[in-house]
């Protein structure tokens, strides 16, 4: 982006979002600890905080992992995506509190270094008496730290969106580690089946959600047939005004937009966080990403000043009411759109 970085780009919506989020977090912990003290007066405040922060962080992780596939299934969930990084950082903070309290309670009073103690816990001499679940939690927390620490747009720009996205896909590894941490911790800590059932149910929910969203996305990505360096995408009348149709061209989606007078095509991958430009719309003459509002000129693929992002453009052609898109992007983003006025086709 061509502007000066701030710590957080506060606006009214973000302040409201964070206000609701942290009110919910504090309320959850207050109810958990208060209820725990009433239900089980022998429990210490520290123990209840450890359990409260663990359940809350794990619950928030499920919410975070659900947002992505939910937005693929229905655009109504998109507002949840806008400030997902705030949710992620907040979840990490809660998990960090849990980690620190746990280390203090279970490892800080011994003779050896508390961090080392996590790996060489004498109370669990071998796997037959208990799985060493605590290292799983530590490694999961480290991944969450890496994600929280690189959540700012500075890192997005330094690492580039694909690399940044790959780093943040480690959230699934973190989930697997934390699932193991919770499951093996529960088994050793309590005889009740309810926590075990809820944990497994949460995992099943995420797996099913991702499978449904994944199959639906896969159906949209049928490669278009090629002829003379162009691929047929759709009929002109299949594209709504100021909206797009997407097609798989060159291993990635291309977004073909329709304005009043012409058909234009740009890469369907937003440079910000690789959002689906084909699901956006043309606003004030610019293709607008539905995820975070990044904009690109449909003719040149460039963002309006002072922003410097750009995406490749593709030549388009219309023949007998059918829209064709070139297989190869324009080498310098100088694009000749296909006219809708009945004039000779440009290609």
């Amino acid at each position: 982006m061509g502007h000066t970085y701030e710590a957080v780009g506060w606006n009214r919506q973000k302040k409201h979002y964070d206000g609701v989020l942290w009110s919910g977090i504090l309320l959850y912990l207050a109810v958990f600890v208060g209820g725990g003290l009433l239900w089980s007066p022998d429990s210490t405040l520290e123990t209840l905080l450890i359990r409260g922060t663990s359940t809350l962080a794990f619950l928030l992780l499920h919410v975070i992992l659900s947002i992505g596939p939910l937005t693929r299934l229905h655009p109504g969930f998109l507002p949840l995506l806008y400030n997902r990084r705030h949710l992620g950082v907040s979840m990490f903070i809660v998990a960090l509190v849990h980690g620190v309290l746990s280390i203090v309670q279970f490892h800080a009073m011994g003779d050896i270094n508390p961090i080392l103690s996590i790996f060489v816990n004498d109370s669990v001499p071998d796997w037959s008496t208990g799985f060493p679940f605590q290292p799983l939690g530590l490694f999961g927390l480290i991944i969450l730290f890496l994600m929280a620490a690189t959540s700012h747009d500075f890192w997005l720009n330094q690492l580039t969106a694909p690399v940044w996205k790959s780093l943040h896909m480690l959230v699934y590894l973190a989930y697997a580690l934390l699932f193991g941490h919770v499951i093996f911790g529960i088994v050793q800590d309590t005889s009740s089946l309810i926590p075990l059932i809820l944990t497994v149910a949460g995992a099943l929910w995420l797996v099913c959600l991702h499978l449904v969203a994944g199959f639906r996305e896969k159906k949209r990505d049928t490669p278009a047939t090629s002829k003379d360096g162009f691929v047929r995408v759709c009929r002109v009348d299949e594209i709504e005004l100021n909206r797009a149709v997407t097609a798989l061209v060159g291993r990635e989606r291309v977004a073909i937009f329709r304005s009043d007078k012409e058909i234009t095509a740009i890469s369907g991958v937003c440079q910000h966080q690789n959002g689906p430009l084909g699901e956006g719309r043309i606003i004030d003459g610019f293709v607008t990403c539905p995820w975070h509002g990044y904009q690109y000129c449909p003719l040149t693929g460039k963002s309006p000043e002072p922003f410097t992002e750009s995406v490749p453009t593709f030549r388009t052609a219309i023949e007998d009411g059918q829209v064709f898109v070139s297989e190869i992007p324009d080498p310098e983003n100088i694009h000749s759109p296909a006219s809708l006025t009945g004039d000779k086709v440009n290609d």
């Binding site: 710590a7 080392l116 690189t150 694909p162 990635e252 324009d330």
Partner: protein, 84 residues
């Protein structure tokens, strides 16, 4: 995994993070705008927020500093690779 190996790995991690802290402090104070023009005149809150990441990813930033450019790295997507 033996206790001795775990100890050595923890020392390695500690060394990595120590180098990260020594790098990150001058980086966020004086050098961050050398690799990103948007960091010029950036707020103290921003520099504080990127500090933990700079400790963790100091090799990446050191590599960026060594290229002596404030131009942002170009992302590699399927379409941009074909375009080049």
């Amino acid at each position: 995994m033996s206790d001795a190996l775990i100890v050595w790995l923890l020392y390695l991690a500690l060394a990595y993070l120590s180098i990260g802290v020594l790098f990150a402090i001058p980086f966020v104070l004086w050098r961050i705008d050398h690799i990103d023009a948007s960091a010029v005149k950036s707020t103290r809150g921003f520099r504080l927020i990127v500090f933990p990441g700079a400790v963790a990813l100091w090799p990446v930033l050191l590599n960026r500093l060594s290229t002596s450019t404030s131009d942002l790295p170009r992302e590699r997507t399927a379409h941009k690779e074909i375009q080049q």
